[in-house]
């Protein structure tokens, strides 16, 4: 049985200064799924996600959070972004999986995990109501994403049977 690559690094960014938007552009359509790992330094504002530069109200998400003493769930629809963070503080990890991102037939679904031991552990499912292949991903903040934050985008290859 032969083996093929699984995670392949598409692009890695480490922010040298605080910025409101980080974009991965010209994403190749050759993988099955995408994985984006964000390791933020201390936040002063939330960060969120959008695709292909679409700023329309075409996003929705449902999240489940535990803050160490209680559990809660939230729903956002007809939003301009998919939310990723629980609060605007702490130093979260986000693990984001985008399934079948390059098909041009279906809306795109996203599964995320967010962990920040100061605030909460949680997960999220998001939807982008657009059939276009995803060729760019932007992480956007109403404030800034802090300096030192690392973002790594991987492509997932289909394995051999």
């Amino acid at each position: 049985m032969s083996k093929t690559a699984t995670y392949s690094l598409i692009e890695s960014q480490t922010l040298g200064s605080a910025t409101a938007t980080v974009t991965f552009s010209s994403i190749p359509g050759t993988f099955t799924d995408l994985i984006l790992i964000i390791r933020a330094t201390t936040l002063s504002a939330n960060y969120n996600m959008r695709f292909n530069g679409d700023t329309g109200t075409n996003y929705s998400d449902t999240s489940l959070w535990g803050n160490g003493s209680s559990a809660a769930s939230y729903r956002s629809s007809n939003n301009t972004v998919i939310g990723l963070t629980y609060t605007s503080s702490g130093a979260p990890i986000s693990r984001i999986q985008i399934q079948d991102y390059s098909n041009a037939t279906t809306y795109k679904t996203v599964l995320t995990r967010q962990d920040d031991s100061v605030n909460a552990a949680g997960c999220n499912v998001g939807l982008w109501r657009n059939t276009a292949a995803i060729t760019s991903i932007s992480i956007v903040s109403p404030g800034t994403i802090p300096s030192g934050t690392t973002l790594k985008l991987y492509g997932i290859q289909a394995g051999n049977a």
């Binding site: 392949s8 489940l64 979260p92 990890i93 552990a121 949680g122 690392t150």
Partner: protein, 171 residues
């Protein structure tokens, strides 16, 4: 493109059992680590808590979101307790809990964040699925990872035969 996910080591528990599973002398040449655990312990419970030690320290703060199949709850601790995600001797035979622990930037000089997904399993009405966020406040690179099972009476137990843990490095 080159393979970016590398297996560093796998530990499989033998017939004598093991009080812990440890990875030592972890190389620092990767960007992230991923540890996948398939575990069952010998305490007479359906599940055991997975306790994490990093570089020999249990000073790890954790916030946990837990679903039992009928209710959701959230807890916190500062001793590396990651959740009830290791099986026990009263769980359905041949059934092991599963967990994935993710350590981004594990060799950096800043504090280390940890993300954990896990589930205990048995053919019963209550199992636990957990999502946990951890923080190891240390500027030292993570060079040693140890996991231990502790039962519902807070007694450390042994992993049973065929429990496994595999450590991956991600570039």
């Amino acid at each position: 493109m080159a393979l970016q996910l590398y297996k560093i080591a796998t530990v499989e528990v033998g017939s004598a059992g093991a009080s812990s599973i440890a990875f030592t002398s972890i190389p620092s040449g990767y960007t992230d680590l991923k540890l996948v655990v398939s575990g069952r312990a010998d305490g007479a419970f359906d599940w055991h808590q997975l306790y994490l030690e990093l570089n020999g320290s249990t000073s790890i703060s954790v916030r946990m979101l837990q679903g039992s199949g009928s209710a959701a709850a959230s807890y916190n601790n500062s001793v590396g307790e990651c959740g009830p995600i290791i099986g026990g001797s009263t769980a359905t035979a041949n059934t092991f809990g599963s967990a994935e622990l993710y350590f981004p930037n594990y060799s950096s000089a800043s504090n280390k964040s940890i993300s954990v997904d896990g589930v205990s399993e048995t053919n019963g009405t209550t199992i636990y699925q957990i999502l946990s966020a951890g923080l190891y406040s240390s500027s030292s690179a993570i060079s040693q990872i140890t996991v231990k099972p502790k039962d519902a009476s807070a007694v450390y137990r042994n992993f049973v035969q065929y429990s496994t843990a595999t450590l991956y490095g991600i570039l």
